[in-house]
Structure formats: C-alpha cells, structure tokens
C-alpha cells in the first residue's frame, strides 16, 4: 500500500502544483499586459520597453508575433540547465505561451516558472513515506509489546499457575483473574476442569484402595476354609494336592491385592517420609533374613556396604524396597550366579549376573512380564519405582558386563 501511495502522492502533488503554476503564469501574463497597456506607449517606445523587459525580467519573454506563425496558446513543461550557475543543475520549468495584445499589436507572451523536478518530488515523498512507515511499525511494535505485557498479564499468571499443577499432589490452584472478562471465564473453566479431573483421579485411587480392602475378607474366608478343609479325615492325597495348589494361587492373589493396596497408599501419600533411616543396618538385616535363599541357589554375594549410611525417608517403605530388590535378584539369578550389593551415602546398587539386557521402559511398569517366571505379583519393581519417586530417589537400570544393575541415587 505504501509503495503504491508514493506514485499516487506524486501525481496528486504534481497536478496541484501544475494547476497553481498555470494560474500563476496566467496572472503574470494578464497583469503584465494590462500594465503595458496602461502605459500608453508609442510603438517605438513599446518595442524598446519590450526589449528592456526581455533583458531584465527573468522568466518572461515578450515577442511580437509575425504573421503566419501559430497563434495558439500552449502550456508545457521544459527542463533546462541554468545559464547563470556554474553547477550543472537541471531545473524544470512550467511555461505558458500565450498571445497578448499590447497597443493593438499581437505579442507572444511566454512565462516560465520553476517547478520542482519530478525526481526530487518522488524522492521527498518516498523519504517522508518511509519515515512514517518506520514510525508506524516501531510504534506498533512498541504498543503491542506494552499491550501484551499489560493485557496478557493475567493470562501469563494463569499459565504459570497451571504449570505448577500436579495431579499427583492434588495441590489446590488459585488463579489471579484480573479484570478481563474473557480471562475470568478461562480461569473459571480451568478451575472446573481441574476440579473434575481431581475428583476423577481421587475416585480412581480410592477405588483401588477400597477394592483391595473389600477383597481381603473373601480372600480370608477362602484361605480359612481351605485350612479347615485340609483337616478332613477322609482326604485323599490327590485332593490334598489340589487344595495345596489352590492355596498357592490364593496366596498369590492375596499378595497381588496387598501390593496394589500398598501402591495405592504410596500414591495417596499415606506415609511419612521424614524418618531417619539407618539404611546399612536395614540392608544387612534383610540380607541376613534372605541368606538361606541365596545359599539354596548357591549364589555368591559380594558386599561393598559402607557403615552409617543414614537417609531420610520412610522406614517400612525402605524395607519393602530393599526386600523387593533382593528377592528380585534371588529370583532372576541363575544357580551359581553372583549378586553384588553396593551401598554408600550416594548410591545403593544391586547387580546380578544375567544373560541379556531387559527393556527398561517396561521394567518398572505394573504387571509387565519379563521372564518366563510367572509366580511373581508383577508389582515388585513397580513398587520399588513408586517408593523411589515418593522418597525423591532416582532409580536406573542398565546391563553391563553380563550383569543387571539396579542403581538408586539418593538426593
């Protein structure tokens, strides 16, 4: 638009100028003719006056009209270099050539008036236009910056508040809505959305916990009925073995149930994580309890345990974590394998000999099976992961030099 406006401006300015100058030229011609007629000069005097006029009056020229020449008026524009200046400048002139009658003699009266060159006009207009263009752009930028800073402030506040939201922690959010109606609506909608999500999440979590609780009783009944059943006098060995298999399956479902309950409780933050834990003592105690199971598979245990490793967290959860990892290593190490346990103030790591790497992505997921062994609850490592998250520890898995490494970084 601005580019188009430059020639438009030029034509408009040029046209106005030309019209004005034409008028001006016409006035000069009429005025001069009128003045010369008033003088009532004789023809000879007139001729000398005209000669004098022509020599001293710049921009005008009076010439007697010879018979046979064109007598039409003409308006035109010429460009010529100035004769009086040494500078090679070209000026543009607007001219009027008209026939006037002085002392009843026809004369051609020519008026030349300097008019701005088109190039200069265009240049000036272009410069002015550019200047305003730049001014508008800069002004707009400045304005929009200021606008976005003030008008969008409530939006930014809302966004920042949203970023801190964690469904897991169920922290309550309060939005600063400012005075803008739209943002107020946005915040109200967000509040509603968050409320619904929180309720749905809470219901789901409560469901897990309630379902597990409710399952305890029927599981207990089944277990106890089986115990009573085993005491029947006329039990055959076949029936006994069937009952024992049922017993095993029942134990497994109780365990899954118990573990789901534990997971739900960790997620519901029902544990205190500010207790001081003597990690090394807990670890040694668990290793001692499980020693016979390491021995039964002839697994060599290498211990690199530093003394007095005290950490913050939850005592019983940490015990669960240690036991799950130890049991995991017992279960998945082949007979005659090696388990290396390392502990210091920064790291707790359990490495057990293995054949090929496991997929880390699936490892800590609930109910994802990795081995052909299917007696586990499928929740052991998921619980370990959840406990680490709860105590703000970081757990990693990697496979190197023919061993699975589970490493927990404290802090």
């Amino acid at each position: 638009m601005l580019v188009i406006s430059v020639p438009v401006y030029y034509f408009v300015v040029d046209a106005i100028w030309k019209t004005e100058l034409d008028e001006h030229n016409k006035i000069i011609a009429d005025k001069s003719t009128f003045a010369l007629n008033q003088l009532k000069l004789s023809d000879a005097q007139l001729m000398s006056s005209v000669a004098l006029w022509n020599s001293i009056q710049p921009g005008t020229n009076i010439e007697p009209v010879h018979a046979g020449t064109k007598v039409k008026d003409s308006i035109y524009t010429i460009e010529k270099s100035s004769t009086y200046s040494s500078k090679p400048a070209i000026d543009r002139f607007r001219c009027l050539s008209t026939i006037v009658t002085i002392n009843d003699l026809p004369f051609r009266f020519t008026v030349e008036t300097n008019i701005e060159e088109s190039g200069e006009t265009i240049a000036v207009i272009a410069i002015v236009t550019l200047f305003f263009f730049v001014l508008i752009v800069v002004g707009l930028l400045f304005l929009s910056r200021r606008l976005s800073n003030t008008v969008w402030q409530p939006f930014r506040n809302t966004l920042n508040t949203l970023k801190t939201f964690n469904l897991h922690r169920q922290s309550a959010l309060s939005f600063d809505s400012g005075n803008t109606k739209e943002f107020e609506e946005l915040n109200q909608s967000l509040n509603k959305l968050i409320e619904h999500t929180s309720i749905a999440y809470k219901t789901q979590k409560e469901f897990t916990e309630n379902a597990s609780h409710e399952l305890q009783t029927p599981l207990a009944i089944l277990k106890n009925k089986l115990d009573v059943f085993l005491q029947s006098d006329d039990l055959t060995e076949k029936q006994y073995l069937l009952a024992e298999e049922m017993n095993n399956a029942l134990n497994r479902s109780s365990r899954i149930n118990k573990n789901l309950l534990l997971l739900a409780k960790i997620e519901n933050n029902q544990f205190d994580n500010t207790e001081a834990i003597a990690f090394d003592a807990l670890l040694l105690q668990s290793i001692d309890i499980l020693k016979e199971h390491f021995e039964s598979k002839n697994i060599t245990i290498e211990l690199n345990i530093k003394k007095d490793v005290v950490l913050n967290g939850n005592h019983s959860l940490t015990e669960v974590l240690i036991n799950n990892l130890l049991l995991n290593s017992i279960r998945h190490t082949a007979v005659n394998g090696i388990v290396i346990i390392t502990l210091n103030q920064q790291i707790f790591s359990i490495a057990n000999s293995g054949i090929k790497a496991l997929e880390e992505r699936l490892l800590f997921k609930r109910f994802s099976k990795h081995s052909t062994y299917n007696g586990g609850s499928g929740l052991g490592l998921a619980i370990v992961n959840e406990i680490c998250k709860f105590q703000q520890w970081k757990i990693t898995y990697n496979f190197e030099n023919g061993a699975h490494y589970f490493k927990i970084y404290f802090s």
Binding site: L219, K223, N224, N248, S254, K258, L290, E292, L327, G375
Partner: protein, 224 residues
C-alpha cells in the same frame, strides 16, 4: 479353654471355630460391638479374637474397656488393615498380638497357644510331651533331660507345631509362617523342607521319634 470370637463376618468366625474346636477350645461368638461388650462383662475368656472393624463401633474401644476393668483375657487383634499405626496403637492399649487378614488358621492357632501358655504359666512355662520338654521362657528344648540345640527357625517351627497338634499343615502355610511376606515371592518352598528335615533329624537323634509326620507327600502333622 474358652475363646471369644468378635467378628462380624459369619463365614470367618465359623471357620475359626471349626479349626479351633479340634484343640479343645470352646468358641463363642459376638458379631457386634454391643454383643461383645455384653459377653466380656459377663464371662471370662482365655483368649479374645477381636476384629477392630465392627459395624457398630471400633474394636479398639472393646480393648480399652477390657483393660479398664483390669481383665486378664488374652487379646489378638484381627484386622483387614495392615497399618503400622493401628498395630502400634492396639499393642499399646494392651493387645497381646496382631494378625492381618487374610491369615492361615494354623498361624492363628499357634498364636493363641502361645498367649494362653504365657498367661497361664507365667513363671514355669514348660511344655511336656512324653520325654520332650520345651521351656517357653528360656526357649530351650530337651529330650530325656538332654538338651537339643535348635536354630531359631527350627525352634519356631517346633512351637508352631505345638500350637497345631494333630493338624495337617501344608508346606505353603509353613513357608508363610517362616518368612512372612517373603514366602510367596520365592520360587519354591524347598527351604521349608530343609528346616523341617533338620528339626526332625535333631529330635530323632535325641531319641524322640514319631511326633512329626509327613502327610500327603508335602504336608506335615505333629501327633501326640
């Protein structure tokens, strides 16, 4: 011996009674808080099995009531909640033991046995079966006055069998007793077999022969 089962779940209460009946225990039932309060005020029991989640009140209140009246009944809390706080609170008020549902009946029986023995024979708590003698206070075992050295696990097993005489106890139940929560996370329960075998051998070597029997291939039974 009289036992009061305070449990609102009919099926559980009847299984407990059925299992315990074989041990010469006489079981009575209370399904509600009100019923329980009425029974403990009128009668004396050797052991009370107390479910703390009752439809009309908290079982812990019953425990408080008992302690206020200075009753000497042994109390085992039975709860569906495996909360450390509940456990601590219950034991602080004066419960003798705490069991989390679901549990095996032999486990319950063994615990009742220990509590009753402790309450009744506080000073000279010695179990005698023929030539076998167990000093529950000193945790010492002897056969024909010759001391038998048992590991902690073996001793534990022996007491467990004492509390479940003439009962068939499966390997998985014993595994759960011996290693608690670990048991069902382990590949196999052969370690039970190893401990039982050692116990059997030690008793046999000391001259005490046929009490502990293997039944149905993988179950065990202590006979009198």
């Amino acid at each position: 011996m009289k036992i009061l089962i305070i449990e609102d779940e009919q099926q559980l209460a009847s299984s407990m009674a059925a299992y315990l009946a074989g041990e010469q225990y006489l079981c009575e039932f209370a399904a509600t808080y009100a019923e329980a309060i009425e029974k403990i005020e009128t009668f004396q029991y050797d052991c009370i099995l107390l479910d703390i989640m009752l439809p009309d009140g908290n079982g812990l209140k019953i425990l408080e009531e008992l302690k206020q009246e200075n009753k000497q009944d042994g109390v085992i809390i039975i709860s569906a909640k495996n909360e450390l706080e509940d456990k601590i609170k219950g034991l602080q008020i004066g419960a003798d033991d705490y069991l989390t549902k679901p549990f095996h009946l032999p486990e319950l029986s063994a615990r009742i046995y220990s509590i009753i023995r402790r309450k009744q024979f506080s000073n000279a708590n010695i179990v005698i079966q023929d030539d076998l003698q167990i000093d529950l206070m000193a945790k010492a075992v002897s056969v024909n006055n010759v001391s038998v050295v048992l590991t902690k696990k073996e001793y534990d097993l022996l007491i467990y069998f004492m509390g479940n005489k003439n009962r068939v106890i499966s390997k998985s139940t014993l595994a759960e007793h011996l290693s608690g929560d670990f048991a069902d996370m382990l590949d196999n329960h052969d370690f039970v077999y190893a401990h039982v075998k050692n116990l059997k051998k030690k008793l046999y070597d000391a001259g005490c022969e046929h009490y502990l029997k293997t039944v149905y291939g993988t179950g065990y039974k202590w006979t009198e």
